[in-house]
Symmetry: C2
Subunit: 152 residues, 2 copies
DNA sequence: TGTGCTATGTTCGTAGTGCGAACTAACTGG
DNA sequence: CCAGTTAGTTCGCACTACGAACATAGCACA
């Protein structure tokens, strides 16, 4: 039962909040001269190197889409392809030094902006929200597209 | 303080949950032969007609981006431009009958899928999550990109 | 040992996205 | 009537995303 007209159902809440997060991503990307997809790529690769296959699965992209994304990131010096020593078909995609630094900056800027979205929540509310979203993320096996920052 | 390792901070929770929502949008769009952006356009226009300017502000797009999006939607018969009687420069963009039906279907499918993301939450948890996200949405003046379904 | 089958990536063509700059037309205020 | 603003469009560009077709490389197994 909705009480006051002010609170949304879970569904609209999730969709609209995700719209805000998308906007944050776009802003951060713009700030660092990246596209949103390149920013996302950097964030994923912050965790560890990936093969093209895993990377596609993680980002939810077809392999054919990925080739171009990685190509452009390589051309910008953000990322590098390295042959897999155990499988001559496969490659590992990993951050270059420049890409690593940019990833850190982009990640930090995005964290800051997302954090600001929740600025008006009290600490316990933030914990509660984190826990609830954590449940959703885990139940749906959301890939690690964004690392969890260490909470101080 | 995180207790078990299972729960995320608010920031990562929001980002990863929004990744799930984006995937849902992509799935629903695919189901109905739309692009994500077209689906979003239909959802916005479910509420009411918009001028190009308002529409750009709502979707977070430059007007030049919008022209093409609306053009393609017009070409597919989903949407229609109507002259503004009070201002001969301006137009109103609104759903055609076909677009309205498709919008309903797309909206319903998306609601269903997003709802499923939260399937493992108990009713009180869902209420709590809806309230917390509602706060974020309102504090940040997120535009009405997705209508709130009536809770039964 | 070879002979198919599968897995990993790339290439190519196509449609769509999103931006800024430049533009046209129409409204607004002296 | 003229200057300045506002609403939308056009254009060129880079990027995104897909599927189909392709080339290699690994794998299974007779």
């Amino acid at each position: 039962m909705g009480k006051s007209g002010a609170d949304l159902g879970v569904v609209a809440g999730l969709v609209r909040a995700s719209f805000l997060v998308n906007a944050v991503y776009a802003e951060s990307a713009r700030e660092y001269g990246l596209t949103v997809q390149q920013g996302q790529l950097l964030c994923v690769l912050m965790g560890r190197p990936y093969g093209m296959g895993d990377l596609g699965a993680t980002l939810g992209l077809e392999k054919s889409s990925l080739t171009g994304l990685v190509d452009r990131a390589v051309r910008r010096g953000l990322v590098r392809r390295e042959p897999d020593p155990d499988d001559r078909r496969a490659v590992h995609v990993l951050l270059t030094e420049e890409g690593g630094e940019l990833a850190e900056d982009f990640y930090a800027a995005t964290c800051r902006r997302v954090d600001e979205l929740a600025a008006r929540l009290s600490p316990p509310e933030r914990d509660r929200l984190g826990a609830l979203l954590g449940t959703i993320v885990h139940e749906n096996q959301a890939p690690t597209v964004f690392l969890d920052a260490l909470q101080p």
